[in-house]
Structure formats: structure tokens, C-alpha cells
């Protein structure tokens, strides 16, 4: 009985870990963390790229909108010019016809 007890006591005896054991464990843990496959969407580089792309998209949309507005304004101005020109033309043709009719009526009497 004593022998068994002695053997158990010997086996269960507290032993100090070898020197540098804790450091080695921590180093292994951080090493594993470093090489762990990170979620692609969570990568900072991806997030920066996404933010950049969104900024570019916003700028492009803004430029396109401004271009559209300018085109619209130019078109409206051209239309106004055209309508003015046609109104003047119509007015002068009207004048010519009125004069012809007036003179024709005078000649009849």
C-alpha cells in the first residue's frame, strides 16, 4: 500500500513547466491567428477599396448628372432660339400675305 501511495504521489507531484513554455505557447497562438483565413469582406483593404469605389461612383454620377443638366439647358436654349426664329419667319410671311391681300382688295375696288 505504501508503495502504491508513494508511486502515486510521485506521479502527481507538481512539476514546474520547462523554461519559456508560456512564451512558446503564446507565440504559437499569435502565429496561428496571423495565418487564420480572415473573412474577405472584413479585410480593411477591401473596405477601403469599397469606399473608394463608392466615392468614384458618386463622383461619376454627379458628373453625369451635371452633364445631363447642361445638355438639357443647351437643348432648351436651342429650342427657344428655333421657336423664336420660326415665329419671326411666320410673322413676316403673315405681313407679306396681308400686304398682298390689302393691295389686291384695293385694286378690285
Amino acid at each position: 500500500m505504501n508503495r502504491l501511495e508513494n508511486e502515486l504521489r510521485k506521479a502527481m507531484k507538481r512539476e514546474e513547466p520547462p523554461e519559456g513554455f508560456a512564451d512558446r505557447v503564446l507565440a504559437r497562438v499569435s502565429e496561428r491567428k496571423q495565418f487564420a483565413p480572415m473573412n474577405f469582406l472584413m479585410r480593411p483593404s477591401f473596405r477601403w477599396a469599397l469606399a473608394g469605389a463608392l466615392c468614384l461612383l458618386l463622383v461619376a454620377a454627379g458628373v453625369e448628372y451635371r452633364k445631363d443638366k447642361q445638355e438639357q439647358a443647351r437643348g432648351e436654349a436651342a429650342k427657344a432660339q428655333l421657336m423664336l426664329a420660326l415665329r419671326i419667319t411666320a410673322g413676316k410671311l403673315q405681313l407679306a400675305q396681308e400686304k398682298v391681300q390689302q393691295i389686291g382688295a384695293l385694286q378690285r375696288y
Binding site: R74, Q81, L82, T89, G91, L93, Q94, A96, K99
Partner: protein, 187 residues
């Protein structure tokens, strides 16, 4: 080397030709700036085919006058209007009007209407250019005591379209013969 020179001259020739065509789309004497300086109001519209087509895109087809305008400009090469409104009489001379009128003294142009009214001091000339049986140009010169207007429309104008414009923009229903047989002048 010779080929390059030939190519350069060809391109230059084409460019000059295009420029000349663009420049002749509006038949105007050069001295109109003098009139513009005296005028109280000046309307200066000069549109080439590209500009006309561009403006046409913005015309509303649901509005009758704009729909008619779109139809009318579809075959036009140019539209030029100069209108000078003066505060008083005698701001322009007969020679100014004659200079404009002289531009249409060519076999291709026919004066269809020439009104000389001494009572109202209003003179109106309407010229048409006929080519191969179709009207390819219209010019109006209206000289009133306080207003001088010049209109030049370049391009194929369907007489029916002008007729259909009756009531639009105040354009009268002008009855035009298919082929002008002579000048109809009323003095």
C-alpha cells in the same frame, strides 16, 4: 513624302470646303454689325443642321406648334434670322436693304412676293430657291420703318408643310405653286 503632302492638302481642302459650306448657309452681307449697333433690339439666330437636329430633340411632339416645327426642320440645313428693331425711323438706309436683296439676284432664286407700300413704308420680299422641282430655300426680307428683318431658311421645304403651319406661330396658309412660273410682284 509626296503622298503625305497630298494627304495634307486633301484634308485641308475638305476642311475648307466644309467651312465654306457652313459659312454660306447664312446669306448675309457683312455690314449688319453697323445696324446692330444702332438697333434697340437685335435678334440673331443662326442654326446649322446639327443645331437644328439638336433643338428638334427637345421639341414636344404633343404641342401642335412644336410638332409642326419638328416636321419642318427635319430636312433643313440651316436657319438664319436677323431682326433689328430701332427706336426711331431712318436708322437704316435703302442701300442696306438692297445689299441683302442683291444676294438673291441669282438664277436659282426667284422672288415670289415683292411688296412696296409707300403708305405704310413697309417693304417685304419673299424669295424661293427651286432645285429639281423642289423648294430648297426660302428668304424673307421685311423692311419696316422701325424694323428690319432678314430670314434665310436653307434646305428642302415642303410647301405642304408651310401650308400646314397655318395657325401655328401665326403663319398664314401660303398657297404655293408646285413650280414657280414667274415672279408675282405687287407694288
Amino acid at each position: 513624302m509626296r503622298n503625305t503632302t497630298f494627304l495634307c492638302f486633301s484634308i485641308l481642302g475638305l476642311a475648307l470646303n466644309a467651312f465654306a459650306q457652313a459659312a454660306t448657309s447664312c446669306k448675309l452681307p457683312i455690314n449688319l454689325d453697323r445696324l446692330a449697333a444702332k438697333a434697340a433690339e437685335v435678334v440673331d439666330v443662326d442654326m446649322d443642321a446639327n443645331m437644328l437636329q439638336f433643338a428638334g430633340k427637345f421639341l414636344n411632339g404633343e404641342k401642335s406648334d412644336e410638332a409642326q416645327a419638328r416636321k419642318l426642320i427635319s430636312s433643313l440645313k440651316g436657319l438664319c434670322v436677323r431682326s433689328f428693331e430701332f427706336d426711331s425711323d431712318g436708322q437704316y438706309g435703302a442701300e442696306d436693304v438692297e445689299a441683302i436683296r442683291a444676294q438673291f439676284q441669282s438664277p436659282t432664286w426667284s422672288r415670289m412676293v415683292g411688296v412696296r407700300s409707300k403708305r405704310d413704308r413697309e417693304n417685304v420680299d419673299v424669295f424661293f430657291r427651286m432645285e429639281k422641282g423642289s423648294v430648297t430655300g426660302l428668304a424673307v426680307i421685311a423692311a419696316e420703318p422701325k424694323e428690319l428683318t432678314f430670314v434665310h431658311i436653307d434646305g428642302v421645304i415642303d410647301p405642304q408643310q408651310l401650308n400646314e403651319l397655318g395657325g401655328q406661330f401665326g403663319i398664314p396658309k401660303v398657297e404655293m405653286p408646285a413650280k414657280p412660273s414667274g415672279k408675282a410682284e405687287t407694288k
